[in-house]
């Protein structure tokens, strides 16, 4: 039985990171910008397995460049080209009044003429974010179809599935539905009461939120739930907010883990950092400790971030490493619920035609 707690061990670990000359102690912005620019252009064939979430790779890259202040490295022509590609992935409604296919798809590897090519709720969310980041006014978004299409995705339980022909349903897609509704300024597609009830029922005995009722509380689903509740303006219905904050704070080791007794992982700096920001408890986070941890997963050769020290960087962890760092430090303002820069959000507020 140790009398020195594991907490004290963490601080010893932080000291050794600070003292290690092999670990850079700054965010290697240039390297990350290069990493994401590469993602925007071409991806090697091993990314075939990410074909069904290609639009999310676009969103991660654009949002990262935006947060790093390098979005304007892209020429106006290049931005226009990207906008055209995004719109090419929008489901074209056939005038039948059948909206269940609507939204955006992930990739053009299956042609848009295919009836079986349905919009996917997460791809619709990242498509809208990407357009907003690029300064598009959303005037070509088929808002009516998307909003009415969302209705086909909400289940009796209040949860959402991601695609109208059927899928798993959980907190992730309630989050996507909330972001879409917010950005299109139209909540007709979401029964907020039922959605809120679903999320609240998925708050576990631990205080955090699970993906579904009875499941284990987890950092990602906690973020999705808190952000969705904030966007729906129903956060005040959480019965034990103190316990929720306590659980989120307990996730910090140096960086954050996603569940008790699991390893800290780069992306949880965002999931928990943003959750605590939304819960107005960001000041309780130890920013220096989080920074130290992220310095160990930052790839000083290739740019980007890996989930763990010594692993290769991937686009998801690279994005959340940067977003996680900024949402906690406040160095670059980020909309904690939508996960785009405040610069992009402000532009949307002024210019969106929806």
């Amino acid at each position: 039985m140790a009398t020195q707690t594991a907490e004290a061990d963490n601080m010893t670990q932080e000291e050794s990171i600070q003292k290690d000359p092999a670990i850079p102690k700054v965010l290697l912005k240039e390297k990350h910008v290069r990493f994401f620019k590469q993602m925007l252009n071409m991806l090697p064939s091993m990314y075939e397995k990410l074909d069904s979430s290609r639009l999310t790779v676009l969103y991660f890259s654009l949002s990262a460049l935006d947060l790093l202040g390098a979005l304007d490295d892209l020429s106006e022509d290049r931005k226009k080209q990207i906008i055209e590609w995004i719109y090419s992935l929008q489901v074209k409604v056939d005038g039948s009044g059948d909206y269940k296919r609507c939204g955006f798809y992930a990739t053009d590897s299956l042609p848009d003429t295919l009836e079986q090519n349905y919009g996917h709720i997460a791809m619709t969310y990242v498509a809208l974010c990407s357009l907003v980041i690029l300064g598009d006014d959303l005037s070509r978004v088929d808002k009516e179809s998307i909003v009415l299409g969302l209705k086909h995705l909400q289940l009796e339980s209040g949860a959402f599935q991601c695609i109208a022909f059927g899928s798993e349903s959980d907190a992730r897609f309630v989050y996507c539905a909330s972001c879409i509704s917010h950005l299109l300024k139209d909540w007709r597609g979401v029964d907020k009461d039922r959605a809120t009830n679903f999320l609240l029922r998925a708050q576990s005995y631990e205080g955090g939120f699970a993906q579904n009722i009875g499941r284990e509380a987890q950092g990602g689903s906690t973020y999705c739930s808190v952000a969705a509740l904030v966007l729906m303006d129903t956060l005040d219905r959480v019965p034990d907010r103190r316990r929720l904050v306590d659980w989120c704070i307990a996730r910090q080791q140096l960086g954050f883990n996603g569940r008790p007794n699991k390893l800290q992982d780069t992306c949880y700096s965002f999931w928990l950092g943003a959750s605590l920001t939304l819960l107005e408890a960001r000041e309780l986070i130890n920013k220096d400790a989080n920074f130290s941890f992220l310095m160990t997963t930052q790839d000083q050769y290739m740019g980007g971030f890996a989930k763990w020290e010594g692993y290769l960087p991937d686009v998801l962890h690279s994005y959340f490493g940067i977003a996680g760092m900024f949402v906690i430090s406040g160095e670059v303002p980020l909309h904690p619920a939508l996960n785009i820069s405040m610069r992009a959000y402000t532009h949307w507020q002024k210019n969106a035609v929806v």
Binding site: M1, A2, T3, Q4, T5, A6, E7, A8, M11, E14, L40, N41, M42, L43, P44, S45, Y47, E48, K49, D51, S52, R54, L55, V57, L58, S61, D108, S109, L110, L114, Q116, N117, Y118, H120, C162, I163, G166, E168, S204, Y205, E206, G207, A210, Q211, G214, R215, E216, Q218, D240, R243, A250, Q252, R259, P260, N261, K262, L284, I285, N286, A289
Partner: protein, 302 residues
């Protein structure tokens, strides 16, 4: 997975009637698809365009899934073929087994598995499937999700507490196992005071084995507070916390609970004492302990 014919579809005589739809090649997030990927997916697109539900279309989806098991459009098309034709669902369940074994964190295959079980109405293999998957990664979220679905959908509660016990014997820090226990009790006996006492007894044993384990502390406080009680309502639990403290056991989880117990009793100064103990050596949560002290001081002035 796909051990059959490796000949490109473009060279197969029995596919001559199909005109493949080539994949576009742009320059926005452009994946450099391999030749095999382009071949398979150009034929997949053509078959779907034609709405052909056939054995050859079914085998094509196997190749498409092998290349990208996250393609939900292909999985759905495969299910449509299954529904339209007399293909053995037993074999399909085995196919799902193989993909799960290879990619246990893939959402689409677990959803497919659930659809299959709904089609067959036979959940008899699911406890073994999830147990095997958890044997390799005891915290796999998909496996636990599937197990909870099967258990509640088909009333397979018997044996679940024993399953949890077995996993906790292997790793008492497995938070997923603790969560499952909570789920099982909630859906069987429910949480009357007698059950809470029994579960607290169970939890106490694990806390004493490793006081610095967050999971049983969350379990204990969760069952108490989640059912409308206060910790002071449970004497032996409070005694355990005081006892650990008096024996100099400095678990941050135990100390936090003790502070909250004292706060429940309105023993505010004594609660602050505990937060001070938590701050004796610098920890990552110092700002948080300061905040807790501040909250208590605010209560004291009320």
């Amino acid at each position: 997975m796909s051990d059959s014919d490796e000949t490109p579809y473009s060279e197969r005589p029995d596919w001559k009637d199909i005109t493949p739809i080539p994949l576009p090649c742009g320059d926005v997030v452009q994946i450099m698809y391999s030749d095999r990927f382009k071949d398979v997916y150009s034929y997949m697109a053509a078959i779907m365009q034609k709405k052909e539900y056939s054995l050859r279309a079914f085998e094509l989806t196997t190749d498409a899934i092998d290349l990208n098991a996250a393609n939900y459009t292909v999985w759905h098309y495969r299910r449509e073929i299954l529904r339209n034709m007399n293909i053995s669902l037993d074999q399909e369940v085995e196919f799902a087994d193989a993909v799960i074994k290879d990619q246990p964190k893939n959402y689409q295959v677990w959803h497919h598995r659930r659809c299959l079980i709904e089609m067959t109405g036979d959940p008899s293999k699911e406890l073994d499937l999830t147990a095997t998957t958890l044997g390799k990664d005891a915290k796999n979220y998909h496996a636990w999700d599937h197990r909870q679905w099967v258990v509640s959908q088909y009333n397979l509660w018997e044996g679940e507490l024993e399953f949890v016990e077995k996993l906790l014997q292997e790793d008492l820090r497995n938070n997923s196992a603790w969560n499952h226990r909570y789920f099982v009790v909630t859906n069987t006996t429910g949480w009357d005071k007698e059950v809470i006492e029994r579960e607290l007894e169970y939890t106490r044993a694990y806390i004493n084995k490793a006081p610095n384990n967050e999971s049983p502390w969350n379990y204990a406080t969760g069952m108490i507070k989640g059912n409308g009680h206060s910790m002071v309502d449970f004497k032996s639990f409070v005694e355990m916390c005081e006892d650990l403290y008096s024996r100099q056991i400095r678990s941050p989880f135990g100390l936090k609970v003790l502070a909250e117990i004292r706060e429940e009793r309105e023993d505010y100064e004594k609660a602050i004492d505990i937060y001070m103990v938590l701050k004796e050596t610098p920890t990552v949560r110092d700002r948080y302990w300061d905040y807790k002290v501040q909250c208590i001081r605010e209560l004291m002035t009320c």
